[in-house]
Amino acid sequence: MNTAVASPAASSTAATPLLRVRNLVKHFPLKGKRVDGKPAVVRAVDDIDFDVLEGETLGVVGESGCGKSTTARLLMHLINPDAGEIVFDGKVVGSRELSLREFRRQVQMVFQDSYASLNPRLTVAESIAFGPMVHGESRDTAERRARDLLERVGLSPARFAERYPHELSGGQRQRVNIARALALQPRLLILDEATSALDKSVEAQVLNLLVDLKADFGLTYLFISHDLHVVRYLSDRVMVMYLGEVAELAPSQALFETPHHPYARALLASMPTLDPDRRTEQAPLAGDPPNPVNPPSGCRFHTRCVFAEPLCSQRAASLAPATARSREGADPLHVVACHMMQAGSGHSQTGLSQTAPSGAATEQVSA
């Protein structure tokens, strides 16, 4: 566990982490009991550590039930964590130094459902001005600022300020949500599948807007999405989650070019090709992700992993640089939770040179 805590911290000495998350845990209790009599809980987020560096875009990917949205909600304190520490700009959130209210002003969130996240009875300008007014600005200032922001997100205030959410298209509504998130001049924006419900041509417009706003306002993004193409386009670093844990965290290019974790490899290999001559011949993984209610023991991926050995079901690997994969010293920025990647873990494949990135995982799927 020590390495897990130490490595992301070590990796962040170059740039200051704007947000530090340590040992974050959220279990949702379920009604009823498990077969063995213990109470059933969904281990939605199970002891995760990561940093978000000032000015970067950290992408978060994973499948449903991996905990990526729960993580976002925990960060915003929309739900309370069971355990863990969130440090923002060097101050512990919820301490005397940084109240929850002040933290929430500096961290804002944009959701997937652009319609559900707006109050249908407020005009667009009123919605954007609402937050600043709650935080003590006068109506006048807040509404003037709302109009400025509408302009910034590409909606003419003269045409849109007085409209209601139902009078806008999905793309326009998402622009309003982004404007509203910016109204409190936050430093960190959490985007939870914020462009996933949009058509591709509209999504491209919103992605361009996000890139512009980040530069203009000096923002930091936590970008959660199931769309790996979009994550790759936008992110500086990418975190791959699986069943409530972090499987791999690496600079975007390193992750997409040389994914280390067998799950990350399979996930990337599952992306449909855009080349009709190179269609996928075999699915990288069989079956669905296991239920997070009773996650597998040890490494949670061992039930679907072709490289799994008895060790994998007994002991979870901690998140650390891939020491087994490089003689010159592993890249400290590229951390992975897999025994195969860590020298001396006892896994038989540690010393090997890397096998074919995606092909290897495809051979034994029906096993």
């Binding site: 499948e63 449903s64 298209s169 793309g171 058509d199 591709k200 041509s201 509209v202 999504e203 491209a204 417009q205 992605l207 361009n208 890139v211 199931h226 790996l228 193409h229 979009v230 790759r232 386009y233 936008l234 975007s252 399979a266 996930l267 599952s270 992306m271 449909p272 090709t273 855009l274 080349d275 009709p276 001559d277 269609r279 996928t280 075999q282 699915a283 990288p284 993984l285 069989a286 079956g287 669905d288 992700p289 239920n291």
Partner: protein, 328 residues
């Protein structure tokens, strides 16, 4: 021989909503699917792709919809069918799979019961035991693990990928020749999506199915389809094989659609570059502009694009485009 032939299909939803104007969802679609062929119908929301697909089973409420044109499936005139003939046709000749199996399956019956019912409705001479044996075979065919136990499961007891497999099994229960797929993998996780796409491809090959596959995801479509039809504002604007679509699309809308993708294709933008977007938004289908419906957003539009309606032009036997730039 065409398994599915659609000629001049027009679907109009009668006035409703705030404006009360009729919505012209499909405006003259011509499309055919050969025996054993998979055709992907792609487009953005509101392009009319799902409306076209649903017309093939006549799923639109008759009172609120006006349908004109001709639909022929396996040599039968679908538009002329009475209620009884329609019920025989659905599931037996053409059947459909949907995006959300939880809504498409009946929650109060086990999946096995639903398959047995479907088989016995179409083949009354089949005994319950025989139908059950066939249901089991279907479950094995779509690779549901421990199929015997899963036949007894209710839809909510299955995972997303498993439910999608069960719905495919149900759709194939009466050995249809045509499978209509409406965004069948959109709601699934990446690692499950690819499994279902490969399953569809395999079933198509083994059973010789004709598949019409509706999706907005070009990547998913390339994994399964032989041929593409791109829809915009209720019309097919380009029709070609998948290689030509990716490498040499001719309609400005298709070109823009492929360019706007973040990553993946050779046309796509890399990190740091700006994504090329299509300005504006699709036209209001209750108030279509004169001329080409895409002209307003087209970077290559000329003056006459806003006046004259382009006709479908055949560049070669496998590539057709509806654009004035190609016509001249």
């Amino acid at each position: 021989m065409s398994m599915v032939r659609i000629e001049n299909l027009e679907v109009t939803f009668k006035g409703s909503g705030a404006t009360g104007r009729p919505v012209r969802a499909v405006n003259g679609v011509n499309l055919s699917v050969a025996r054993g062929e998979t055709v992907a119908l792609i487009g953005e929301s509101g392009s009319g792709k799902s409306v076209t697909l649903r017309s093939l089973l006549r799923l639109h409420a008759a009172g609120r919809t006006e349908i004109r044109g001709r639909i022929e499936v396996a040599g039968q005139d679908v538009m002329a069918m009475g209620a009884r003939a329609l019920a025989d046709y659905r599931g037996r000749i053409a059947s459909m799979i949907f995006q959300e199996p939880l809504l498409a399956l009946d929650p109060v019956y086990t999946v096995g019961q639903q398959i047995v019912e479907s088989i016995r409705r179409h083949e009354p001479q089949t005994s319950a035991a025989q139908a059950r044996a066939r249901a089991l075979e279907l479950f094995e065919r779509v690779r549901i693990p421990s199929p015997e136990r899963r036949l007894e499961a209710y839809p909510h007891e299955m995972s997303g990928g498993m439910r999608q497999r069960a719905m495919i099994a149900l759709a194939l229960a009466c050995k249809p020749q045509v499978l209509l797929a409406d965004e069948p993998t959109t709601a699934l996780d990446a690692t499950v999506q690819i499994q279902i796409l490969l399953l569809l491809r395999e079933l198509q090959r083994e059973l010789g199915l004709s598949i019409l596959f509706v999706t907005h995801d070009i990547g998913a479509a390339i994994e399964v389809a032989d041929r593409f039809a791109v829809m915009y504002a209720g019309r097919i604007v380009e029709e070609t094989d998948s290689r030509t679509l990716v490498r040499a699309p001719r309609h400005p809308y298709t070109q823009a659609l492929l360019r706007g993708r973040a990553g993946g294709s050779e046309h796509a933008m890399a990190r740091g570059e700006r994504l090329q977007t299509i300005a504006g938004s699709p036209p209001d289908l209750s108030r279509l502009p004169p001329g080409c419906a895409f002209a307003e957003r087209c970077t290559q539009a000329r003056l006459d694009c806003r006046e004259r309606d382009p006709v479908m032009t055949e560049l070669n036997p496998t590539h057709r485009v509806r654009c004035l730039l190609v016509e001249s």
